[in-house]
């Protein structure tokens, strides 16, 4: 642990206000998502706690009928925007993180395999990756979502939507990881420490996991962070387009979709606050990824 605090990366972190800020913001947002039920004023999805009379209350002003005040106002159904954002954040982060994890696991596995084993295995995996890369990931995600929607019975569609979303974004994003891991694996494989391990007699699996994997993790970390921002945006985009999280389990994207309808009639807060939250989240994660890439790339220093 002391080794970590003395490392150049930690030093670079300590001296970069941008890095510290973005990490703090990210952590705060993740924490508020995790503890949403505790810090939200109401559970916006519990019909019992809703009062339609509270609809369209502007932020910080008392409602015309009930006199109740809401920090960030309410939406058309009288749901507290602050609480819906917290719950939306939960969905957005859950989908984003799960999708990146899925992509990462698939990508690392296939990348290591094709890089280390080579031959036909490599050709097949990388050709598949090339074909998929020809199509933008958002489109792949839409297609997977569309197909999955087609095969799920209508009554389960809403329930399954979140998982389908994770699957769609995760499967659309593994190529990045696989390519980076394969590239790094090819570099590491040619190094003599791998030859030394082979000479000792370690099995290919042991070499891949024990020797190569730890050495290819730092580019993976960078990609994962940047992918997280992209996955969150992708999820929001899909939900905004109406092919993502359903209205019963709204993510930030769904909230923006709902809010868009009221923008032109003057109820700006229903859209503005979820949009700001999404922007701040994506920006913080992006800044973190950007900083990580510079800090972990020794050539830039």
């Amino acid at each position: 642990m002391t080794r970590f605090f003395d490392s150049d990366v930690f030093y670079a972190f300590r001296t970069s206000p941008v890095a510290i800020c973005s990490l703090v913001v990210t952590v705060l947002l993740v924490l508020s998502a995790v503890f949403a039920p505790l810090i939200a004023t109401t559970n916006p999805f519990d019909p019992a706690s809703l009062n339609l009379m509270n609809g369209f209350t502007p932020p910080m002003e008392p409602n015309a009928f009930t006199g109740e005040r809401f920090w960030l106002g309410t939406d058309d159904q009288g749901r507290d925007v602050y609480s819906t954002i917290l719950y939306g954040l939960r969905i957005s982060l859950f989908v984003g993180i799960s999708a990146v994890l899925l992509a990462m696991v698939i990508g690392i596995f296939l990348g290591l395999l094709s890089g280390y084993v080579g031959g036909w295995t490599e050709t097949i995996i990388m050709r598949a990756a090339d074909v998929q890369l020809t199509f933008p990931s958002i489109l792949v995600a839409m297609l997977i979502f569309g197909v999955a929607k087609g095969v799920t019975p209508v009554e389960y569609r809403d329930q399954m939507a979140i998982w389908v979303l994770i699957l769609a974004i995760g499967l659309s994003d593994w190529v990045q990881f696989a390519r980076v891991v394969r590239g790094a694996t090819l570099v590491e494989k040619s190094k003599d420490y791998v030859a030394a391990a082979r000479l000792i007699g370690r099995s290919p699996l042991a070499i891949m996991i024990r020797h190569i994997l730890p050495n290819v993790l730092s580019p993976v970390l960078v990609i994962a962070t940047i992918s997280l921002a992209l996955a969150i945006i992708a999820e929001a985009t899909l939900s905004f387009l109406g092919v993502g999280a359903p209205a019963t389990q709204p993510s930030l994207g769904t909230l923006i979709r709902i809010g868009q309808g009221f923008l032109f009639s003057g109820e700006w807060w229903i859209l503005a606050f979820p949009a700001c939250t999404l922007l701040v989240l994506a920006l913080a994660v992006n800044l973190l990824g950007d900083w990580l890439r510079d800090a972990l790339n020794p050539r830039l220093r």
Partner: protein, 322 residues
């Protein structure tokens, strides 16, 4: 060189075959076409007859080949939702999307490369750092939010530009263009910026990082050591080397412009194929989804092939490799 192109063409055909397979599998496994085509009142004989008629009793491979044949002739079947031939609907919608994509593509490439080179050369300058910071916001801002923001500002608040639709169009042959009317051009501005902005930031950041990488190379140091001016080093030596990897990625980016058009078209209710596709997904209109997939994969493949050839023209190592 020739063998390189032949190889690439081969790969493109492979890509098309794979996409065809995906599209065809959607037909076969997602939803039953018989269900979709016959109403509630049907007999077993009807089902059997239609099955034979459609060739659904044939083996998978035979059906796949038939699908490809049909697709090559532009026959993708009938939309479940609109009940019209899919090809006809697509042809109606395609000009809108292509015009939008072309304008924003040019915008993204020209501005992206110019800003990328600028920020790489003036690495530590105030303006370059400002542009980089703004670009990070650009990357973090989802396309649909940019669109909503622009609509709010220029349509709702200022009332300068229309917030939806394509304006008036003029028909030239089978092509309906919005370039020739004032309202058509006005309607194009906001969607084009929305669609181009995100791609522009990506291209700019890519050009910047590739160029910085090139500027660190020995041959650039050696060019400087020979006393070549900054202008010659930056724009002759470094820029050409930067363009080699950048061109590949720009090819991919052009592809994603067509995909991201889906989002822009939804926000602006732009009557293109993207909007058609998103509606198809919502209503599980498989023939439209499959046709869209085939159409854009043809476009992607064409773009990529073009990029590869361009790539080989720039890099002498590839040219003489054969």
């Amino acid at each position: 060189m020739l063998s390189f192109i032949v190889k690439r063409v081969g790969q493109s055909v492979l890509v098309l075959l794979v996409t065809g397979l995906v599209a065809f599998s959607m037909f076969t496994f997602v939803g039953d076409p018989i269900d979709n085509m016959l109403g509630q009142e049907r007999t077993m004989e009807d089902v059997e007859r239609l099955r034979t008629q459609l060739g659904l009793d044939q083996p998978f491979v035979v059906q796949y080949v038939r699908f490809l044949e049909q697709a090559a002739q532009g026959n993708f079947g009938i939309s479940y939702r609109q009940g019209r031939p899919v090809a006809e609907i697509l042809m109606e919608r395609a000009p809108a999307t292509l015009e939008l994509a072309a304008v924003s593509g040019i915008l993204a490439i020209v501005m992206g490369i110019a800003l990328g080179v600028f920020t790489a050369i003036r690495r530590d300058g105030v303006a370059a750092n400002l542009i980089m910071s703004i670009s990070l916001i650009g990357v973090s801002l989802p396309t649909f939010l940019i669109g909503i923001l622009l609509i709010y500002l220029f349509s709702v608040e200022l009332g300068w530009l229309p917030s939806f639709g394509r304006g008036e169009t003029v028909k030239i042959g089978g092509w309906s263009t919005g370039f020739l009317t004032e309202s058509g051009l006005k309607a194009l501005i906001l969607p084009a910026i929305t669609l181009g902005l995100y791609q522009m930031t990506l291209i700019m950041r890519l050009v910047r990082s590739e160029m910085l990488e090139v500027l660190r190379q020995d041959y650039v140091r050696f060019a400087r050591a020979r006393g070549l001016s900054n202008r010659v080093v930056n724009f002759r030596h470094a820029l050409k080397n930067t363009m080699v990897p950048v061109i590949t990625v720009i090819g991919l980016q052009l592809g994603s412009i067509i995909a991201f058009a889906i989002i822009t078209e939804t926000v602006f209710q732009w009557p293109g194929v993207g909007l058609l596709f998103i509606n198809a997904i919502q209503f599980v209109d498989i023939p439209v989804m499959a046709a869209y997939l085939m159409l854009i994969s043809v476009m992607f493949v064409a773009i990529n092939l073009l990029v590869d050839i361009l790539y080989a023209m720039i890099d002498p190592r590839l040219r003489s490799a054969s």
